[in-house]
């Protein structure tokens, strides 16, 4: 079915919520579409999806870490565990793009080896589209579409600087995958460059002593209490290629989700993060000057947090205001 076959955003939202694959593809294409006509439809779709739904039982998970740490293989291993547990998984994989041509090789899909013929897995790759370091702004609305259609949504990206911070302000649970033998992760944590993740993983446990040393260093460097409060950051060892420690990791991820729910933090935090993304999009499009014209960052964030449901529509009206002046 083609995008145009969904007559209204209500139809499209209903199909997405059922996990209908052509509808999911169409919805993601729509959210990616920068044309004015598409943007208002996208806002409608998002409002529709979030209408009376907060998806507390669904889980948005970020996996980040330096290149070569084995994130994609780890994701593949996690996906197979979740599938065995009967959970449907949507993935957003973010790859860097070339600043010169704008072109990009979206290679994570290959590294994840997830071309299963399985309706319970859906992978959309994204390029960072010239956002130096950061995640492109489409990731946030796309994650909402994915949450509507799947039990678990995984966002995977090379985490350095801004991109890692963006992931932390998008996901319910952030996992940082450290590279054994490289002291970088430890240094970043100590220096506070790295936002503290909810779960730390040393993959490639099969590297033996090197991995064990990194594990010990991370444990020592880390203040185990997460700044969010009420969560002690676990440091786990896995080997994605040997499929060791993956079940435990999936369990710990699930525990964090339960903890958030029990503490009534999940939904309120997601709402707070949404305002962050809207602010980020406006800032990218209109600069700090634009934000000032809307009354400054503080006022903007407060207004956004008060507006519960159709944030994207609110955002579009703010854009319209800025474009008019």
């Amino acid at each position: 079915m083609q995008q145009s076959d969904y007559k209204t955003s209500v139809d499209l939202a209903a199909a997405v919520s059922k996990g209908d694959r052509p509808a999911l593809a169409a919805a993601l294409n729509l959210l990616d579409d920068q044309r004015a006509s598409a943007r208002s439809k996208a806002a409608e779709l998002l409002a529709q999806l979030q209408l009376n739904q907060e998806f507390p039982d669904k889980h948005l998970i970020g996996i980040t870490g330096p290149p070569g740490a084995g994130k994609s293989t780890l994701c593949a291993a996690l996906i197979s565990v979740w599938r065995k547990r009967g959970l449907r998984v949507g993935v957003l994989a973010v790859d860097p793009s070339s600043p010169i041509s704008g072109g990009a090789l979206l290679g994570d899909r290959l590294r994840m080896q997830t071309s299963y013929e399985d309706d319970g897995v859906f992978v959309r790759s994204l390029s960072s589209r010239g956002q130096f370091g950061g995640l492109s702004a489409e990731v946030w609305p796309m994650s909402v579409v994915m949450l509507a259609g799947f039990d678990i949504v995984l966002i995977e990206t090379v985490g350095v600087g801004q991109r890692e911070a963006d992931i932390a302000r998008l996901c319910d649970t952030t996992c940082y995958v450290a590279q054994p033998g490289s002291g970088d992760s430890v240094q970043f944590l100590k220096a506070g460059i790295l936002e503290v993740p909810h779960i730390l993983v040393v993959n490639k446990e099969d590297m033996g002593n090197v991995a064990r040393r990194t594990l010990a260093e991370l444990k020592a460097a880390l203040n185990r209490e997460h700044p969010d409060g009420d969560w002690e950051v676990p440091v786990l060892a896995t080997s994605a290629t040997k499929h060791a420690g993956i079940e435990t990791l999936a369990d710990v991820i699930h525990q964090h989700h339960n903890a958030l729910k029990a503490q009534q933090k999940l939904v309120s935090r997601r709402r707070r993060y949404q305002t962050y993304w809207i602010h980020k999009r406006l800032q990218e499009e209109f600069g700090s000057f634009g934000i000032e014209r809307l009354g400054g960052e503080q006022l903007l964030l407060t207004q956004l947090e008060e507006n519960e449901l159709d944030l994207l529509q609110h955002y579009e009206s703010l854009r319209a205001r800025l474009n008019k002046v």
Partner: protein, 666 residues
């Protein structure tokens, strides 16, 4: 001086790489070739056999009997060598991932013929490492694959002492874009990886190990730059002699000799004015024959029309006659080494050796060849070299007659006529093969099969040599698919790095590329998001040069690229295209199974409701097939004739614009 008073060297082994349709048809072909003066056999297996699938496996559809002969079980192998006594034959088998299995079948057939297996002579290619870099018929991850290679070597050195257990291939590296230096470095690094693994396996005693070194042979490529190629082979000889002595302590000069067979370059053969390929092939043959001290042991030449489709028996005969004229009519074999004492040649040899040593050190410092394959280092280096070559062709710096210069031509009588100058595989061959496989399966003793597979699994798991249980499987009537499946279950399957994540070439973009890039950007703007392209290689064919080059070029032109490597099913490709929201699907198929595969892709797209995504294909597609495909909804066919990749990019943008109802002139 009359010919009979002069002492002439014995000519090299002359082979033709062949096999097609079925064991019976290939057997008839072999016997004809032998009666025409061919002196050895070179067996081409079809892709399902090479990648461990039976002919009736879904992935084998359209591939059975296409690029070689299908061998499913001992019955097929027996038919292949019917009336060819194996004790009088020297047989080369181009087989890698499933090499232990095909050798096991060969041994079992020898037993049935009443031939003592220990007297068998021949070669199994058995170099799986290059499969991850080029050609693509690997199955298992590198480490267990090398273990299978090692088992075959350890077994033959003890039990079939005249067998060449492995043919380290630099051939396919050149096809994947390797420069002569890279060819030297990576082939020798591969040999080191294999020999080190044999040593580490502990299966071979210290004295026997020198025999192993002595039995390693090479399979080399010879390109059109035949002077440099001559020097490359001299460099190979010298480096191997030195390496075997210094690294492995082999003193016997006979065991340190660089023994090699050759297939000359297919990469440089052209689809346009294909008759020019004849002189290319002859010149390339000179590179491996002129110098006595580095002359090939065995030569097989491609047919002039390889870039058009499958060669006919007459085309292969022509290739054989080229060798015979050189060996028997000319005076080449009457002389010693023609280049002895040439300063020019010596300087070039030294330069190649120095470059190769440097690259070998780089590989070694990164953990050796296996590690460099796993990380994708070597693959990326090759993709980079090939990209450079393609760019030089585009810019005209590298001249290829009939392709980027002297394109005008009179109509060729060679490609006229009903057959358009290529062989058509009998469409019934696949059906017949499947029927015969099914009847074979139902007529065997199942308990024996089960027992043999049980032994195979045990050996795969506990690390004992894989050959004895494989021979047991061959005798018991196990099939190729069953043998491979047991090992898949134990070892797992593998997807190799694609190597396309190379940095854009540093030199500034050409005028043509800038124009295309603008059009890509503009069209993306009009459609609301950047243009996305999925590049897919359906089927079992692993020749991925074309797909890789298109991917790199499209990235540089501003497309967002999804490419997951070789051997995907049509359903996987269709689903990925939908998930990724691509604007166009580009397929690459070189095995001749394009008709079936394209049909399947359209069926799958329909099934998932994604028929609005346009599909194009690149590959070796005969004109008649192209017409048919275009009528059935395919949007474009690109063949080796389309050397200008910027034009291909431009054509793809036009197709996307058309599919979305945008103005075409923009």
């Amino acid at each position: 001086m009359s010919q009979d008073t002069v002492k002439r060297d014995r000519p090299w082994l002359m082979r033709t790489y062949s096999g097609h349709s079925s064991a019976q048809a290939s057997n008839a072909l072999y016997r004809t070739n032998l009666s025409r003066g061919q002196t050895g056999l070179s067996v081409a297996f079809d892709l399902p056999t090479q990648t461990g699938y039976d002919s009736d496996h879904p992935l084998a559809r359209g591939e059975v009997g296409k690029v070689g002969v299908p061998i499913n079980h001992i019955g097929d192998m027996e038919a292949l060598f019917d009336q060819i006594p194996l004790d009088q034959m020297n047989t080369s088998m181009t087989i890698n991932a499933t090499a232990p299995w095909l050798l096991a079948l060969y041994v079992a057939v020898a037993e049935r013929q009443g031939v003592d297996p220990s007297t068998l002579e021949g070669t199994t290619q058995n170099d799986v490492l290059k499969e991850y870099l080029s050609r693509g018929t690997y199955i298992y991850p590198p480490v267990p694959s090398v273990r299978l290679t090692t088992d075959l070597i350890a077994y033959t050195v003890e039990n079939i002492p005249k067998w060449n257990p492995t043919n380290v291939c630099s051939y396919h590296l050149q096809e994947a874009g390797a420069t002569p230096t890279q060819e030297l470095a990576y082939a020798l690094s591969t040999a080191i990886a294999i020999l080190d693994a044999v040593k580490a396996s502990g299966q071979v005693s210290e004295e026997r190990f020198h025999d192993v070194v002595g039995r390693i042979s090479f399979f080399v490529n010879a390109g059109i730059r035949f002077v440099e190629e001559t020097c490359k082979l001299r460099a190979f000889g010298r480096m191997w002699e030195e390496l075997t002595q210094q690294r492995y302590g082999v003193d016997n000069p006979k065991q340190r000799r660089f023994r090699y067979g050759v297939q000359v370059n297919s990469l440089g053969l052209t689809e346009s004015q294909p008759e020019n390929n004849v002189q290319r092939i002859v010149l390339e043959m000179l590179a491996v024959t002129l110098s006595k001290s580095s002359r090939a042991r065995a030569i097989q030449l491609p047919a002039w029309n390889e870039a058009l489709g499958l060669p006919r028996p007459w085309d292969q005969q022509w290739a054989l006659r080229m060798q015979q004229v050189l060996a028997l009519e000319t005076d080449l074999l009457e002389y010693g080494d023609l280049f002895e004492g040439s300063h020019v040649v010596e300087t070039k040899v030294q330069e190649l050796i120095a470059g190769a040593r440097e690259e070998m050190a780089r590989v070694e410092s990164q953990g050796g060849m296996v590690a460099c394959i796993e990380t994708g280092y070597v693959k990326s280096e090759l993709v980079q070299s090939h990209t450079r070559r393609m760019r030089n062709i585009e810019s005209g710096e590298l001249q290829i007659i009939g392709v980027n210069c002297f394109q005008e031509t009179a109509e060729s009588p060679l490609t006229a006529g009903d057959e358009s100058g290529i062989m058509k595989v009998d469409k019934k061959a696949e059906e017949q093969q499947i029927a015969s496989l099914r009847s074979f399966r139902s007529n065997r003793e199942h308990s024996k099969v089960e027992q043999a597979l049980h032994l195979l699994r045990a050996a795969a798991t506990d690390g004992s040599n894989i050959m004895p249980p494989s021979i047991e499987c061959a005798r018991a009537g196990v099939t190729t698919g069953e043998w491979s499946e047991v090992l898949r279950e134990v070892f797992g399957e593998y997807r190799a790095p694609t190597g396309i994540d190379i940095a854009p070439l540093s030199e500034s973009a050409s005028e043509a590329l800038i124009v295309v890039r603008d059009r890509v950007r503009k069209t993306g703007k009009e459609l609301g998001r950047p243009l996305r392209l999925l590049i897919g290689k359906p089927g079992l064919d692993g020749h991925s040069n074309g797909a890789e080059q298109i991917a790199v070029k499209a990235r540089d032109a501003g497309f967002e690229i999804v490419y997951e490597g070789i051997r995907l099913t049509p359903s996987q490709i269709a689903r990925a295209a939908q998930e990724e929201g691509v604007h166009l699907i580009g397929l690459s198929i070189l095995s001749g199974s394009h008709m079936e595969l394209i049909d399947d892709i359209f069926i799958e797209l329909k099934k998932i409701g994604a028929t609005d995504i346009p599909v194009v294909i690149g590959g070796i597609i005969p004109e008649e097939d192209a017409k048919h495909l275009l009528q059935n909804g395919l949007k474009a066919v690109f063949t080796p004739k389309d050397m200008d990749m910027n034009s291909i990019m431009d054509a793809m943008v036009t197709i996307i614009r058309k599919a979305h109802g945008l103005e075409l002139s923009a």
